[in-house]
């Protein structure tokens, strides 16, 4: 079986884009699913975003320049899709006074294994503003270097570090004051 890491992706895309795309779907769907779900919490929303991400990957495959690893490129698309989703949900709930998304997400915290601190940690992360939430998840769970996060979110590295610092403080306060 062909492994995506063994391929010269840029060249292979020109020869057989279908093969490259199938390998991306099979090799990275699980990792992308986990990263997206950490941000949007519910399975249904994660599924929608992941499908949209894969569709965008397919449509833009020919524009992959090979400047980064193919996973980083796919991850970047997934993160941007998640950010768009969070912003639209926030706008919608603000305009319609609709808390359905927040309530559905909170119900999902009950399924999290572990002690009360783990559940509170998830809730605190969920309550962060969209960009802070992304920065925190990318750094804390996905362990992406600040420099790379800055490139993905098109912000400067110093700003990203500050966002991460604020996020950790907010989470600590939320857990300690609850």
């Amino acid at each position: 079986m062909t492994h995506i890491e063994d391929l010269n992706i840029k060249e292979e895309i020109k020869i057989n884009p279908h093969l490259v795309f199938n390998l991306i779907v099979r090799s990275y769907s699980k990792q992308l699913y986990t990263s997206i779900r950490r941000i949007v919490i519910t399975h249904q929303d994660t599924d929608d975003i992941l499908q949209e991400t894969l569709l965008k990957i397919w449509k833009n495959l020919s524009s992959f320049k090979g400047e980064s690893k193919i996973y980083t490129w796919a991850y970047k698309i997934a993160i941007n899709e998640s950010l768009t989703f969070l912003r639209s949900k926030k706008r919608k709930s603000w305009l319609l006074f609709d808390n359905t998304y927040e309530n559905e997400a909170r119900d999902n915290f009950d399924y999290i294994n572990g002690d009360i601190i783990d559940k509170k940690l998830k809730e605190a992360i969920f309550l962060l503003p969209p960009k802070q939430k992304l920065v925190f998840n990318m750094r804390y769970y996905d362990e992406i270097p600040f420099k790379e996060i800055a490139q993905i979110l098109k912000l400067n590295e110093g700003g990203i570090k500050a966002q991460y610092h604020h996020a950790t403080k907010k989470i600590e306060n939320f857990i300690n004051n609850d």
């Binding site: 779907v25 699980k30 699913y33 397919w58 940690l121 998830k122």
Partner: protein, 118 residues
């Protein structure tokens, strides 16, 4: 940790990937859904690419039909109908020219003849 304050420096990070696992059989379903979305998006882009061609074609057909009809109506007019227009014009012109030529006295005479006759 319950009574002490929570701090990231003391907290041992937990691997949460088990909590975030997708339902059984999800990834096969995902592959099928993505394949279907791609094929319907390809169809949609094909339809979208046809829209400008169809618009141009419909304009050409419309112009062709319009010119053809105009040509037909022009040729029909030149055969017969224009004669009746000319006849009407001549009658109208004659009427105007006859009445314009009468003097006031002649008109009075015609009027008196008309009165006496009735």
């Amino acid at each position: 940790m319950k009574n002490s304050k929570f701090s990231f420096s003391e907290y041992k990070k937990k691997d949460d990937s088990e909590d975030l696992k997708a339902p059984e059989g999800y990834y096969n379903e995902l592959e099928n859904n993505v394949r279907n979305k791609i094929s319907s998006s390809n169809k949609q882009s094909f339809i979208n690419s046809l829209i400008p061609i169809a618009s141009i074609a419909s304009v050409i057909i419309f112009v062709f039909v319009f010119i053809n009809k105009k040509y037909d109506s022009d040729t029909n007019d030149s055969n017969t109908d224009w004669l009746s227009y000319i006849d009407e014009d001549i009658e109208e012109q004659n009427y105007i020219s006859i009445t314009d030529e009468l003097t006031e006295e002649e008109l009075n005479a015609i009027y008196e003849d008309f009165i006496s006759a009735n």
